[in-house]
Symmetry: C2
Subunit: 744 residues, 2 copies
Amino acid sequence: PVATLSFQSPFEKQIDSILSLMTLEEKLGQLNLPSSGDITTGQAKSSNVAKMIEEGKVGGLFNIKTAEKIQEVQKIAVEKSRLGIPLLFGMDVIHGYKTTFPIPLGLSSSWDMEMIQQTARVAAQEASADGINWTFSPMVDISRDPRWGRVSEGNGEDPYLGSQIAAAMVKGYQGDDLTLENTILSCVKHFALYGAIEAGRDYNTVDMSRIRMFNEYFPPYKAAVDAGTRSAMASFNEVDGIPATGNRWLLTDLLRDKWGFDGFVVTDYTGIPEMIAHGMGDLQTVSALALKAGVDMDMVGEGFLGTLEKSLEEGKVSIDEIDLAVKRILQAKYELGLFKDPYKYCNVERAATEVYTQENRDFARKVGAESTVLLKNAGQVLPLKKEGTIALVGPLADNAVNMAGTWSVSTDQEKSIPFLEGLKEVAGDKAEIMYARGSNLSYDKEFETNATMFGKTIPRDGRTDKEMLDEAITVAKKADVIVAAIGESAEMSGESSSRTHIRIPQAQEDLLDAMLATGKPVVLVLFTGRPLVLVEEEAKVPAILNVWFPGSEAGLSIADVLFGDVNPSGKLTATFPRTEGQIPLFYNHKNTGRPLSNKEGNFEKFRSNYLDERIEPLYPFGYGLSYTTFEYSNFQISNTTLPMNGSITVSVDVKNTGDYDGKEVVQLYTRDLVGTVTRPVKELKGFQKVMIKKGTTKTVTFTLTAEDLKFYNYNLDFVAEPGEFEVFVGTNSDTEMKKSFTLK
Amino acid sequence: PVATLSFQSPFEKQIDSILSLMTLEEKLGQLNLPSSGDITTGQAKSSNVAKMIEEGKVGGLFNIKTAEKIQEVQKIAVEKSRLGIPLLFGMDVIHGYKTTFPIPLGLSSSWDMEMIQQTARVAAQEASADGINWTFSPMVDISRDPRWGRVSEGNGEDPYLGSQIAAAMVKGYQGDDLTLENTILSCVKHFALYGAIEAGRDYNTVDMSRIRMFNEYFPPYKAAVDAGTRSAMASFNEVDGIPATGNRWLLTDLLRDKWGFDGFVVTDYTGIPEMIAHGMGDLQTVSALALKAGVDMDMVGEGFLGTLEKSLEEGKVSIDEIDLAVKRILQAKYELGLFKDPYKYCNVERAATEVYTQENRDFARKVGAESTVLLKNAGQVLPLKKEGTIALVGPLADNAVNMAGTWSVSTDQEKSIPFLEGLKEVAGDKAEIMYARGSNLSYDKEFETNATMFGKTIPRDGRTDKEMLDEAITVAKKADVIVAAIGESAEMSGESSSRTHIRIPQAQEDLLDAMLATGKPVVLVLFTGRPLVLVEEEAKVPAILNVWFPGSEAGLSIADVLFGDVNPSGKLTATFPRTEGQIPLFYNHKNTGRPLSNKEGNFEKFRSNYLDERIEPLYPFGYGLSYTTFEYSNFQISNTTLPMNGSITVSVDVKNTGDYDGKEVVQLYTRDLVGTVTRPVKELKGFQKVMIKKGTTKTVTFTLTAEDLKFYNYNLDFVAEPGEFEVFVGTNSDTEMKKSFTLK
């Protein structure tokens, strides 16, 4: 049975009247989303896709930008196609548009929801000024597998934090009114569970229980739906043995019927024909499967356009099913106001004053700094003083194109501020910055080629490894402090960049060792798109600042933090394991029946541990240092009984006991001690990022209600179960500062 | 609602009449299975457990052996307890009793079902002669995670092969008639899914979809049930968020109602109280949960004995539920004939002539040899000639106690034949065997302590590492060929021996390198309880013979193979990965939507692969070499159409093209090209182990029916779907020799 589309809006009649005018071919055209191909301004008319648009065979286009070009293409749809239905114009606006913010994993480390929402707002402002009305974002896939390259594109491992961020991103893109010229459609992706791929190998099989889906992986998608996302993207992976793109339980029973989503569903790139390789049938079969499952728009696959007519004739799909999908696409165009003004995003004046503005770039600089995570700072090597001589080394030190990180297709990556440039600018004439490259990205040239695609090259130095290293040593010996800019290139993470070894490449490790051997203080400025194994670095390097890929203003963002103009306050949103063999490792795991009884990492026979490694991570979820120190005290709970319809407050005093003003992300976790199903040992249920001036104390207060303690039980009902709970507060997920209460 | 126990046997009335005589305490006693503790012969009467037996508080005992001791204890039950109900006597008879066969993972590599069944038969014979009437075997947990130490105890990764082995083991233990004195109860374990623990860390959480459970993990348990196992053990892990021990869906709805199991269910060691740590409630709650789920016997936990009376009073369990469990225990005792003769396993004469006999030991020697897997044999280094000088080095070369491998509690491990001793014996006076230890197990003394528990020590040598190494080099230089006996100690795998790094310890790796540096031919005789990462060894060592842990006759088994008296024919039942970061890696995976298009391991962007590693394993499932070579030809299929009620035959000629007679395991795989759910790229559906004399050819024929092509669909119905299939034959799972057919 086909679900009925319940339009809450007054344009239902108008949609019905358009639908009644449409031929089957025009209907299927609305469901078709080709990539724009090689359209260049002024040539749209002669392109292949233009011909298809004229024939009514295109519902939207993606990978096309600038108001001029989009106006030209929209004109073809409006003026040349029989019914003049305007197009959607989509793009992967993932972490900023031209002004680029840190990669999502980095941005999530800020734990600053207002700021995150504002990055989406700025991205929508810029993208819409360039003609785009639909972004394939936010990506909200929970992942516990740092081998998977796309952890860089997500918000880490936590369903609660991930849900907050998902909602913030949707609100940022869509604003309160989609008919405005600077708000665009968001598209939550990848629905669903893509982050749980087996062995961390991109596009691989996903498998988990329903109860895990609901409690651990679905919440951020649901949060995006609740926040009003108007579109959703089906994921590549299978769910319960059926690819998401053809999975009716997922796309209809759950997404629409249970969660009430009434926007439209688009496939991922060639999602429909890829079901052939999944073993679901030929193109006609999988296209019908997708439509019947609840897919409305076919990205690139042309399965709908090419086969649904035949399937309709053969009774394999119904016209009602096709009409429903068409209605949903038309509805989105209505909601955007495109029927009122197809050119509302084609104001060719806007880009000059709204894209890549100094204001936006200043914001990006700030966001880049707010997203850094200080992993270690022994002997307070950081912040650096703006004096003396600083040696900057490493293959990532003087490179623009890698600074924006992966999946930043609209950025002008050549214009990103290299670390070296930013460091010099912020140091001004107060400190001398010396530079030596020191090493290539990797000793392995082929690996490097594969890891620096899409113009994100780190040209290999013509010198030998030894020559580069010797130069770096010479430079380092003249300096007061050494800053090593090493780690991953931008494309070592991201899509189709899965790694079995998640370590710093040996060439750079050797450079780091050479720098340490000089005896000078060394600061490791780590570029990475994923959690890495850093056990050796933690042991030998005095200071580690994880900057991820900070965005278009990278060099300035990093320099602001290094010199203490910004005190780092980021907290990890994904666990950093001690070794690849611990994967998956995450803070909100279940207890076992035989938990280890010691926290010192001593092996215990017949307890849940490893013979050869501790069970803890190197850096836990929520971890991150500051240049100052915070002391937690006076932990209070208002009542040890929480009534089902009441609330309790939890408060804690946080004192800045160091020498710098600083922000702290105060985290609240709960543990449900007994359940009808097993429950995690800790779950994040609240956080507040507060600025605390040095020497002062702030009282941070949280309110807890039964709603916060709900989970999906064995029957997948969302319930809070009476009983004993623990509540923890602290500076990261490792906190043992706890109190007990009873839910009655 | 409580399921009713439908006794097919005439003793129902008798059980009912006993039940009617029992007090509640006596009933709960039948459900109680304590460990025997420290009973020594002649002291049974004064032990604590004897007092409990007298009081009717014990249904069975485990970890007690010898007919004398068991007779003494049984006498207490029969003569001193009020009702005189005899006890069950259980033990972990896992891979042999005193005569010990290879660890199960090794034994499974023989692919010889008759032989495997015979090992269980011999084990039952020996155990029953020693008074034991119940073994906690077979362990049939499918696992794809070599980090998990207990892969050593299982039969690898394949549900089809695992099912064959499960059935063979049950038949071996139980025979055709349980009332005989030499047949014992088998106990299939661990029900269910224990092999899928997260991160390979023992006792950790398990999570998977129902469809995966049914198709990929359940088949061996079901095969054991179908083969008639009279008991089953609940696993430690949770299933769908509820620990197996308290999971009614698992233990009743599935196991009894769907599969028709009518034996009894016992917990694993302290399985009930461990549910407290899982967060399911206090001891009373979890005990009631276990009973209501379908647990009949409480191993060690004493939750039943201690709390069910209270739960009954409080209406939390019913007397019918208790009675049902009691009936199942009594039924098992009846089936064993214990009510007829409680002392049927207490013939004190038997052990002398039936345990550890020369016949059994000869059989173990043969089984040990048949289970070895030849991984590499460049330049035909093997077999060794019985001439010249052979240097044997390595910490495992002259050690008895490790030879039987993990979980061999009844073996007299001091008596196992060390490799050196066996090699000398088999070489006789024809070749000179020189020995040098060469290294310790590991440089890490603490690791070594944890890896050599339960008396399986490899005493550290008093000399320095360099002294040991130098001696080995000196010895090696005098030899014609070097045999390096290295790898894992027995307790580096097994329960609670999970490893994040699955490699040969560095101390031994250094020894191996030193041996290779001599320029002499080197044979690596690998001891291991799990798949290891052997990429470097494969690259540098000419010959690798994986002997696992061969059992009590280890040295002779290995020597027989090394000298070619037995031509190795084992095939891996678990994939050997190239690196830990590929885990889980298994042959019968699903296809992705973006499969890699090359088999050379070249990286392809936007395909399912890794930036830094190939996606293939080092050694695939089914892999194993022989001293001879086999050539496959004349692959025939009798019809390209398989009717739903018909069959087709598939045949292939296998020619022995080498210089030795040899056995080949001819393997048959199918692929279901299109399904209503995604299907594996290959599935083992048949195999035949055939002896082929050199220069001769054998035609191997398989019959395929629709039954072979059945799987559990989205609704968990077991169906064969019409459509296109491929059938493969070959020497391992990598084979590309295929034909197509259609199921109609």
